[in-house]
């Protein structure tokens, strides 16, 4: 939109609808918006979106700002919509194991409230005090714990969204089993806020495990580590996460060994966790160079560090890539990743979420052209590849969501229906929608 179009009148009107913030702290890929506003209520947000729609303001919903590395370069960016004031826990029914929470509530605050009743949302989150629940749903970033508990989408039972027209759209409800109407939760999950601004989410919550342990097994090579992890996955044991960590990356999580490490998390009642960890240790023991079991806090700490290593927070001089692949083919994927980086001045560190079927790679280099070439090669690997975060220069001219997904035509039709003026996150979603 042009400089003149954002009239003094529209500006003044927006200023009456919410708190104005300093635009410079809302950069997306280096682009600074012209205005940042934090609505105090859903009603105010509805009015802001109506104004933004009429004036054609390119609007980026914003909360904790921890995963802003994800997304294509914005086509335009006029208005940052700060949702952190919409942070109420609207309804919590501990006996029903359900909770309704506004999008701007942080993961930390929500889990503290649930924790007081011995319950939780099983999230992998490195920055619980900043990351918001709405941000996690909009970006769809679920970590290795999805293996045991399902992704966040599987726990989502209701949603309220404000459409660019200002209309409210609700789906689902406050019950754990519901087939009334379309699944609007799935429509908005991981749609990067491109079809509507999420304002409320309802979840089924999980009894908090009374204890946890993590089996750590080190191996000389990837093949042995992968075999061990797959044996666990194929067994009747029920861990909640299984990852393989490259030895060098393990330094980042407080371990230091050459080769590869398998980390297997168990959660539940204490006695059951102890026995399960012992049984898992037996399954992974062959070919280990080191075997240990982490308990309680140190186990938790490890997984929080894993979460921060595979998130989408923007990095300097580095890119982060996520590639989907069958669990049994992840070891070969890791080799392909390494091969793709050969001949380039990049340092690569790989993480494999064997439980879920996702490979992660962090690539560092002072030479942006090499990082760019590496992404171009990685984008072709596996079943699908996503550039989780990258410097803006590398994002130019590429789709960070990798190859064109099947059904892009339907996605385009959805975008045109729900956001006819194209004001929400323009250009940032898949196919530059």
């Amino acid at each position: 939109m042009s400089e003149q179009a954002l009239s003094r009148q529209a500006l003044e009107h927006l200023a009456t609808l919410g708190e104005l913030h300093e635009p410079a702290s809302y950069q997306v890929d280096g682009v600074v918006p012209r205005l940042a506003v934090a609505p105090p209520s859903v009603n105010a947000l509805q009015e802001i979106l109506r104004v933004a729609s009429e004036a054609g303001l390119a609007t980026v919903p914003w909360a904790g700002g921890t995963q802003m590395g994800l997304g294509n370069l914005p086509r335009a960016f006029d208005l940052a919509l700060d949702l952190r004031r919409l942070n109420a826990i609207v309804q919590y029914e501990p006996d029903d194991l359900t909770v309704a929470v506004q999008a701007g509530c942080t993961v930390g605050e929500l889990n503290a409230r649930l924790g007081a009743h011995g319950q939780m949302l099983p999230l992998d989150c490195a920055t619980p005090d900043r990351t918001t629940i709405g941000g996690l749903v909009a970006t769809g970033l679920s970590g290795p714990r999805r293996y045991g508990y399902g992704a966040l989408r599987d726990l989502l039972i209701g949603i309220t969204v404000v459409l660019p027209s200002g209309q409210l759209s609700r789906g689902g409800g406050m019950v754990v089993k519901n087939v009334s109407g379309y699944d609007m939760m799935r429509l908005h999950y991981a749609a990067l806020g491109s079809l509507g601004v999420i304002v409320q989410l309802n979840f089924k919550v999980i009894p908090k495990p009374r204890s946890e342990r993590t089996v750590i097994a080190a191996y000389h090579g990837l093949a042995e580590a992968s075999d061990a992890a797959l044996r666990v996955r194929f067994s009747q044991l029920a861990p909640t996460a299984i990852v393989l960590i490259e030895g060098r990356a393990a330094r980042a999580v407080g371990l230091e060994v050459p080769g590869w490490i398998a980390a297997v998390r168990c959660e539940g009642p204490q006695r059951a966790v102890e026995r399960q960890a012992d049984r898992i240790a037996e399954v992974v023991r062959p070919a280990t160079t080191r075997l240990s079991i982490l308990e309680g806090h140190s186990s938790q700490q490890l997984w929080s560090q894993v979460a921060s290593e595979i998130g989408a927070s923007p990095l300097v001089g580095a890119i982060r890539v996520r590639i989907g692949q069958n669990p049994s083919d992840l070891a070969s994927l890791a080799c392909e990743i390494k091969r793709a980086c050969s001949g380039l001045a990049v340092e690569v560190v790989r993480w494999l979420d064997i439980g879920s079927g996702l490979g992660y790679a962090t690539l560092c280099s002072p030479h942006e052209p090499d990082l760019r070439r590496a992404w171009e090669r990685l984008a072709r690997l596996g079943l699908h590849a996503t550039l989780l975060s990258a410097p803006a220069a590398i994002k130019a001219g590429t789709d960070v969501f990798g190859r064109e997904p099947a059904g892009l035509g339907v996605m385009r039709a959805l975008k045109e229906t729900f956001d006819p003026n194209g004001i929400l996150n323009p250009g940032r979603f898949v196919g530059s929608l």
Partner: protein
């Protein structure tokens, strides 16, 4: 419509044994498992039975060319009338597409055609240590495609989740005739989660031609407990206490006295006949955990007044305890010529008051109501017994159903837990959704199916239109911009 030319074109696509348009033969396709008294019967103009995805694609293209409605159908076991060709047109019956295409043990998934029977998939994968977790009561007959369309549940979804949690990807023919694969074995394929949107869409957004399902590892140990309580109230309290203790059973089912009597008369499952209610509780997982949880569950049941708790440990004993539950609907024939099944969900803690209300309504409308349901997730199934030939009875059933639905909605529940909205419950949608909510859903529908050919008259209330909302919105915009609204 040129019926003759449509017939010939369809014959060329699916061959002579794949087209049915003889009125006598079409009779069977006028119904599904919904009750005719409530959903009526609706004759499609023509029924086709494709064998391949390419054939489905050709059929959809022909429907577009002729401007005819398309209604997909599996085994026709749905209870909400979603498989009825309410506006005629082409009924596409998927039962001949019944091949299991791939079983991948290593990564735990299978690719099947939509006509594969639910139970057959589990029977096929069981020897390899896997099963398909969704297990609706009709699992001996219903198809995986139908499960996808309805996002089906079943007793075991308490622990394992509903169908949506077990679908990794779909091959689907879209209403414009395009055929695409959504999702896949690895999670987080970029873009809108079309797989998630399609599951539960009741055939209104496309026809699924292949399904990639997650297979679940057969648990190490399974225990089934049967606990007999004096009444529904105490059984409901025990249910809440088990969940509150942080125990997640694989299944937690409740049956009331009327159901127990019917089941015993028909199948002799060995349920205690003097009990006011029984709970059937299945625990599975690691041996150590199951054994420990079984003890805790038994103690909780006793604490809340259970007179008897039996534990089945062998497959044979387990089967017998489950037999009664799985045959409960069939046993209702012992009690009454007709029954109407109401499927709603309430927050678990509202179960006791809801059961009391159902009992009061049963007295008020002079209708016997049997209760057999998924107590663990608050999904109730009052079975209203009636005789359609008795004057005034059908009307009373309808009024009673409306009252039950209204009560469930009032306490924070919903219209359907697992059977779907379909044709039968569509007018109740306004009890839980505003016009704006429904308009957003209609926007979703239109994005897939702009000509509104796919499974018309389903999900949305009869005569529903978004025109009014759009007019109001335009008026609001016009006012703000200072334009005179004509």
């Amino acid at each position: 419509m040129d019926r003759q030319s449509l017939r010939e074109r369809l014959l060329r696509v699916v061959g002579p044994d794949g087209v049915i348009d003889d009125p006598d033969e079409l009779l069977v396709y006028e119904y599904d498992a919904s009750d005719e008294v409530f959903a009526g019967h609706h004759r499609p103009d023509i029924t086709v039975l494709p064998r391949t995805a390419e054939q489905v694609q050709e059929i959809v293209k022909l429907a577009n060319e002729f401007g005819l409605p398309v209604t997909p159908r599996g085994a026709g076991t749905g209870l909400a009338g979603a498989a009825l060709a309410v506006r005629g047109g082409i009924l596409v019956v998927m039962t001949r597409m019944n091949r299991v295409l791939e079983i991948n043990e290593r990564d735990g998934y299978a690719v099947v055609e939509p006509g594969v029977i639910n139970l057959e998939l589990s029977q096929l994968t069981q020897p390899r240590g896997y099963f398909f977790a969704p297990d609706p009561a009709s699992q001996r007959a219903c198809t995986i495609g139908g499960n996808v369309a309805n996002n089906s549940g079943g007793p075991h979804c308490l622990k394992y989740g509903v169908t949506s949690n077990h679908i990794l990807g779909l091959e689907v023919v879209l209403p414009n005739g395009e055929r695409i694969w959504t999702g896949g074995p690895a999670p987080e394929s970029p873009g809108v989660d079309l797989t998630g949107v399609l599951v539960g869409s009741e055939g209104t957004l496309g026809i699924v031609t292949k399904v990639m399902v997650r297979l679940t590892r057969v648990p190490e140990t399974v225990n089934v407990l049967l606990a007999a309580f004096p009444d529904l109230e105490t059984a409901s309290q025990a249910t809440s206490s088990i969940i509150a203790a942080g125990i997640l059973p694989a299944a937690l089912e409740m049956m009331d006295q009327l159901t127990i009597q019917a089941v015993e008369a028909a199948f002799h499952a060995g349920y205690p006949q003097d009990a006011g209610a029984v709970l059937l509780i299945e625990l599975d997982g690691l041996t150590e955990i199951v054994v420990e949880d079984a003890e805790r569950v038994a103690a909780l049941c006793h604490q809340y007044g259970a007179r008897e708790v039996r534990v089945a440990r062998t497959p044979r004993e387990r089967e017998l305890l489950w037999l009664g539950r799985k045959s409960a609907f069939g046993a209702m024939g012992r009690l009454s010529p007709n029954y109407y099944l109401v499927d709603t969900t309430v927050p678990r803690t509202r179960l006791p008051s809801t059961m009391r209300t159902v009992e009061e309504l049963s007295r008020e409308y002079r209708l016997r109501i049997a209760n057999v349901f998924h107590a663990g997730d608050g999904n109730l199934h009052p079975l209203i017994l009636f005789d359609r030939l008795r004057p005034g009875e059908v009307e009373r059933v309808l009024r009673c159903t409306t009252d039950i639905l209204q009560y469930c909605v009032d306490v924070g529940g919903t219209l359907s837990g697992e059977h779907g909205i379909g044709f039968e419950k569509r007018d109740a949608m306004t009890l839980i959704f505003t016009t704006e909510d429904l308009c957003a859903m209609a926007g979703l529908k239109r994005s897939f199916d702009p000509r509104e050919l796919f499974n018309p008259e389903k999900i949305f209330p009869s005569g529903f239109s978004c025109a009014e909302v759009n007019a109001v919105r335009q008026q609001a915009i016009a006012q703000r911009l200072g334009i005179e609204f004509v």
